[in-house]
Structure formats: structure tokens, C-alpha cells
Symmetry: C2
Subunit: 145 residues, 2 copies
DNA sequence: ATAAAAGTCTATCGAAATAGTAGTCTTTAT
DNA sequence: ATAAAGACTACTATTTCGATAGACTTTTAT
């Protein structure tokens, strides 16, 4: 399961992506609009900002806006910042590899091989879905319904 | 990430699957062989047994064995018993659906749609990989190496 | 009949991770 | 100068996870 932190992060980026016409957006507004606890959101935005995905401006009239094109922010990027590994076992992780404690022989481990396949299947989706894609899917539905 | 419980469950089933020639296998032996805390393993085996995947026999000479063919036990089955949902967000889960607290409109939620795709990609692997497949992959490597 | 070898079941505990809160500091616009 | 914002750090509460404990039941061997 995604942590709430990650879900909030995605929601925030999507909201900021929809708001590109009149930035910046204040934390308080974003928190209210997306039903995210304000102080918690504050920390999350900080992380995303420090990772280079958001631009922030202090003082009156300040707030947050995207620092990259929404089409260039992939869900994998976000997950790795807020949740860490995408793989389901540490020994199958690309960016957060760790040996499994109880593993006898990683080379022949059938579990590892299977979960590398799972990881790749997951990455196939997440590394090709950008914030812009998520927004597009929502707009698509508004037109259909 | 998989819980240790799930990883232990898979390991246990794989070990029991490799042991079909001379069952049953005692918890203590299984625990030692797979480096799993004995009392923790005990609970896990109980769950798998109550779900119908294992057969157990009490008393001297008793122990555990598979209650189904290893080819008929899929990783999805195991994960759902020990970890619950396979989807990364509750609203995308097939067997453990739950509405997301902060969600405004599930019908148009782009995050949900994306994570339904992720779920399907994951299921594509896990619902087609049985305990027998995991064992086969390990044996395959022993031959090659 | 009894002792030993197993699994069964339920309760509990401690540590770590997650979710959220509080408060002080800094920057900027007016 | 002041108000409106974000930056930063520390802390707290809650939940989940991993593990342990112990008393009970069934089965086999002698």
C-alpha cells in the first residue's frame, strides 16, 4: 500500500499541475482543496521542493508551483522520494537494494526472480505515467460523463 | 514492501513443495532450515492451513505438508492471506476494496485509474506464478550454474 | 497408561514506521 | 513596520509489524 504521504504528494502535484494558469498556490488552499492536514502537507511539499520538483516563494503572494513541466514528472520519481523502493522485496529494488536477511543464496532465489518481474511490470506503468497523464485521464472523464 | 510474514509464508510453501517426497515436515525443522523464528512461523503455517493450503498432523511423527499441488498454489493466494490487498491504494483493490478518505470523486480519479493499471500489471505476474513455478526457477539455476 | 512429540490457540509485548502537530524562524510584499 | 506566506526542526500519538510466551490438544510409541 502507498503511504498517505505518497498519495498526498501525488494529489498535490496533480492539483498544482491543474493550476499552472495562475500560480502560485498557497499551502493552506491546497490543503483545504485536497483534504490534506495542513502541517503534514507542508512537510511533503518541502520534500518535493528539495528534490527539485516544486518552486516555492515566501512572503505575501507567495506559494507553490511546479518547477518542471507536468509531463516530465513521473510517478516513479514521486514514489521514490516519499515511499522509497518500488520493489516488493529489498533484494529486487533498483534504487534501494538491500540483501534479504534470511536469504541463503540470492543468485538462485526463485522468490527474488519473481519479484523482479513484478517490479518490472510495475515500473512499466509508473515510469510511463506522468503528472500530466494523470490530469489528462481526469479531464478525459469529465468530457465523457 | 512485502511483510516478513508473507515472505516467510512463500518460503515455507516452497520448502514444503520441495519436500513432497517425504512429508511431513516439522515446524522446528522448517524454521531452522529457512531461518524463520519458530513461533512466528507457527502462526503463519496455521493461517495457511486454515485457508486450506496446508495439511497438518499432530503428535509424534506429525508435521506439515502441502494440501494442494504446488502448481495450484498461486502467489496471489498467499499474498492475500498474509498481507491482504495487492493493489497499492485501497480504492483499486479487487478483494479488499475501500474508499479513500480524501477522495472527492472516485469515478474521475486519475490516481485510481493509474493504480488499477499497476494492480493489473502486478496480477499478471503473481496470478500466473505458482509455488511450483518458483521451485522450477530455482532448479533451473542449479542446472545452469 | 503414560510420556514424549508434535501441532493449536490466544494473549501479549516491544520496536519501528506512519501520520500528524506545534512552534519558531526567515523572507517578501505592501 | 506588519502581515502573509514558506522553512525548518522537534516532538507526539497511533498503528502495524515482528516476535514471544504459555497453556492446551492430539497422536504415537513403549
Amino acid at each position: 500500500m502507498l503511504s498517505k504521504k505518497t498519495k498526498y504528494a501525488i494529489k498535490a502535484l496533480v492539483a498544482l499541475g491543474k493550476n499552472v494558469e495562475n500560480p502560485p498556490m498557497q499551502i493552506v488552499r491546497l490543503a483545504e482543496q485536497e483534504m490534506i492536514p495542513r502541517k503534514f502537507l507542508e512537510q511533503i511539499l518541502l520534500d518535493l521542493r528539495n528534490a527539485g520538483y516544486l518552486y516555492s516563494k515566501k512572503g505575501a503572494g507567495g506559494g507553490y508551483s511546479l518547477n518542471k513541466n507536468a509531463a516530465d514528472i513521473y510517478l516513479t520519481d514521486i514514489l521514490r522520494i516519499t515511499d522509497g523502493p518500488i520493489a516488493m522485496v529489498p533484494c529486487a529494488s533498483i534504487k534501494f537494494y538491500r540483501k534479504c536477511d534470511e536469504c541463503h543464496d540470492e543468485k538462485t532465489c526463485g522468490i527474488r526472480k519473481t519479484f523482479i518481474d513484478v517490479r518490472d511490470a510495475t515500473l512499466e506503468v509508473l515510469s510511463k505515467t506522468s503528472v500530466a497523464d494523470v490530469i489528462a485521464r481526469e479531464n478525459l472523464d469529465e468530457i465523457i460523463n
